[in-house]
């Protein structure tokens, strides 16, 4: 075990992956000698050489197109998009190519080896273009797997599982937690399961569901609610798609109440998908309407970021509304 922050855990996972499989390559803008603008790829070029860890020209559609080709060839590319906000030039490659490679060829070809990493989310005074949470765009594309870790231990295990998954994975890293989240991380090679949500705290009155950096927020809200005598069950969805319906259903059948929270805007956010499915599966067990606590339907703001963000007090208010319904 070592104490690491989330960034070090990502770096450690990449190091582990590259050491255990020569086919693993890491590349992206400033990823080489500099080790990435956040330092997620520090020292990888030094250790594994310029052929396996390198800078690319500044062209996201090229990075992902290149990565798709490499994966089809049998390499295991881990491409970095510097900020999730800049992934959109690669949207066509991801949505029309990555996601459909296996299906359209009847498994003659696939890009299962591909992982695309990108820092996402707010809380760093990043304004419109260094703050967004684009998971819902990709969740609407069959063939993609979208994974978001909540802490260093999860980041290493989920990233290793993503790199080795037979399906292409979009791995969104909560950049607010890169240095803020610190914890014990096993030094060994280990994987955590994809497509499985995790109940991180059991409770009986209400289920709070989130992922990534938002887990910390619902934990704070649960602590406050706990002091008022409300017992919260906390679930980290971890894999956004394909998502673990059963774990959420089981929890809501027990608690009868659900709040889903994410930083992305309300309309068309992934909370809507969860709410629709859960009301269908748990209709007669629900004690109150399913609540969503999310960002506003605006571009991500700057000065009034705190007002925009679905912070712990907003979640606590939603807990009150739900409990008092």
């Amino acid at each position: 075990m070592s104490r690491m922050n989330l960034l070090q855990a990502v770096n450690n996972a990449l190091d582990t992956a590259m050491a255990s499989d020569d086919r693993v390559l890491c590349f992206g803008e400033d990823v080489g000698v500099f080790g990435g603008v956040f330092r997620a790829t520090s020292h990888l070029q030094e250790k594994y050489g310029r052929e396996r860890c390198f800078n690319t020209p500044l062209v996201e559609q090229g990075i992902v197109g290149f990565a798709n080709g490499l994966a089809a060839q049998g390499s295991v590319p881990v491409a970095e998009i510097q900020f999730a906000d800049y992934i959109f030039p690669a949207f066509d490659q991801l949505v029309n190519e990555t996601a459909k490679f296996r299906y359209r060829s009847g498994s003659l070809f696939d890009v299962g080896g591909l992982t695309v990493r990108a820092p996402y989310g707010g809380g760093i005074a990043g304004g419109h273009y260094h703050s967004q949470s684009p998971e819902a765009y990709f969740a609407h594309t069959p063939g993609l797997t979208v994974v978001v870790p909540r802490n260093p231990h999860q980041a290493k295990g989920l990233l290793l599982a993503s790199i080795r998954s037979p399906d292409p994975v979009l791995f969104f890293e909560p950049k607010r937690l890169y240095r803020a989240s610190v914890g014990e991380v096993p030094d060994d090679d280990y994987e955590l399961p994809l497509r499985q949500a995790e109940v991180v705290q059991e409770g009986s009155d209400i289920t709070l569901l989130a992922w990534g950096a938002q887990m910390e927020v619902i934990e704070q809200a649960a602590d406050m609610a706990g002091k008022e005598g409300v017992s919260c069950e906390l679930i980290d969805l971890r894999t956004i798609v394909p998502w673990d319906v059963e774990t959420v259903v089981e929890s809501v059948l027990k608690t009868g109440r659900l709040i889903v929270s994410h930083e992305a805007p309300l309309t068309g956010g992934f909370a809507a998908e969860v709410a629709a499915t859960i009301q269908n599966r748990c209709f007669l067990y629900l004690e109150s309407p399913i609540e969503r606590v999310t960002g506003l339907d605006t571009p991500f703001p700057l000065t009034l970021e705190k007002e925009y963000m679905p912070g712990p007090l907003k979640v606590l208010d939603a807990i009150h509304r739900t409990m008092d319904f």
Binding site: E51, F54, T56, P57, V59, Q61, G62, V64, G65, F66, A67, N68, G69, L70, A71, A72, Q73, G74, S75, P77, P89, D92, Q93, N96, E97, K100, R102, Y103, R104, S105, G106, S107, L108, F109, D110, G112, P142, G143, T145, S165, P166, D167, R195, P242, W243, V245, E246
Partner: protein, 402 residues
């Protein structure tokens, strides 16, 4: 830290450049009448390869004529012809090793024909039946073959070009001496993916060949409305890439240019751009009518430069081919295509379970539930689903396929 590759000399007046001082010639060896230009030298295309090339070109012509007719008869939903561009496609393929990767656009069935894709394989894809390896998921002409190193076609234009750069980077690391050929039209070369791919290939020194079929039109848009520069070949200079323009209807020139490009790619990790000057003799697709945007006169002028006729004359002159052989082969290919079509159109549609397989390596439970819901619905309304309802209880409709 230098910010340019060359040593930029200081000047004391504003000097602009637009590249007009660079003239890119057209490499050509065969005249339109099939005789060699003086100074063309001894061709490197040997008899066995030449016959294999010509057979593939003829096959492609026969296949295209027959399938276009089938589309017009309502037997096929859609079709795209390679007609007029067979030399550019087959000639470049023949200059590769058969294990080199090809990432084509959609009009390059000649490459597959050269590598031995069977009539049955063509037909099963075209008709999207139960033997189509992609289970009828894509429109006709979206072929693919892992055995023949031909990436499954994807409709979005130019997406395969940066993929070719990445694939070739992997080939370079693998060190087995293979390269990738990306084929695309001059319209696709306007896409951002084209520029991304060329830049990355040059920066990372990747064994990839970019073959642009400059056939004059992107559907109805002529090249004069596609770009202002000197064709596509000149763009390579911006990336310091080797570039050549070739007569795309001249089989010998295409073969020779690609052979040399492959040598540069594989032996020196130098990517190459080839611009093959050709003409789309047929419509863009079965849904297009070129009479709205180009003249008969223009088409006729290009018919005179037909790459098949040009190669045929060259072959006959060398004693490598006869008109009798041509007649017999054409006849037998027509029969083969017709028979293949009749069999393929009678085959069953793909099993319903293939609707949800291959989305992921392992189908998620939510998707399996969706299939079960769909099956129950079809059972209630079999008359509305004639393609799948008759086979629902059949033993070939295996759960395992999901």
């Amino acid at each position: 830290m230098k910010t340019t590759r060359s040593t930029a000399k200081p000047v004391h007046k504003p000097v602009f450049a637009n590249g007009d001082d660079i003239q890119i010639p057209v490499f050509t060896l065969l005249k339109p009448d099939g005789t060699a230009y003086a100074g063309a030298g001894k061709p490197t295309l040997d008899e066995a390869t030449a016959r294999r090339v010509y057979r593939a070109m003829l096959y492609t012509r026969v296949l295209d004529e027959r399938m276009m007719a089938a589309q017009r008869q309502g037997r096929l939903s859609f079709y795209m012809q390679c007609t007029g561009e067979e030399a550019a496609v087959v000639g470049s393929t023949a200059a590769l090793d058969d294990a080199d990767m090809i990432m084509a656009q959609y009009r390059e069935q000649g490459a597959l024909a050269y590598r031995g894709f069977t009539t049955d394989e063509f037909m099963n894809q075209l008709f999207g039946n139960e033997r189509d390896t992609a289970h009828g998921r894509q429109m006709p002409i979206h072929y693919g073959s892992r055995d023949l190193h031909y990436l499954t076609i994807s409709s979005p234009l130019a997406t395969q070009i940066p993929q070719a750069t990445g694939y070739a980077y992997g080939q370079k690391l693998a060190g087995q001496g293979h390269c990738t050929l990306a084929i695309f039209g001059e319209g696709a070369a306007s896409e951002g993916d084209f520029h991304a791919a060329l830049n990355m290939a040059s920066v990372h020194k990747v064994p990839v060949i970019f073959l642009c079929r400059n056939n004059g039109y992107a559907i109805s848009t002529p090249v004069t409305e596609q770009f202002a520069g000197d064709g596509v070949a000149a763009r390579a200079f911006g990336y310091r890439m080797q570039s050549i323009r070739v007569d795309g209807n001249d089989i010998l020139a295409v073969f020779e240019a690609t052979r040399e490009a492959r040598r540069l790619a594989v032996e020196h990790n130098e990517p190459v751009l080839i611009e093959a000057m050709t003409y789309r003799l047929a419509a863009h697709s079965s849904s297009d009518d070129p009479s709205g945007y180009r003249s008969k006169k223009e088409e006729e002028a290009w018919h005179k430069k037909d790459p098949l006729r040009r190669m045929q004359r060259w072959l006959i002159d060398r004693g490598w081919w006869t008109e009798d052989e041509e007649r017999e082969l054409t006849e037998s290919l027509r029969r083969e295509v017709l028979d293949g079509m009749k069999q393929a159109e009678k085959r069953r549609p793909p099993a319903l379970a293939t609707l949800i397989s291959d989305v992921y390596a392992e189908t998620p439970p939510l998707l399996r539930e969706q299939l079960e819901t769909l099956k129950a619905h079809i059972v209630r309304h079999p008359e509305a689903y004639p393609r799948s309802a008759p086979w629902l209880d059949d033993s070939t409709e295996k759960e395992g396929q999901a």
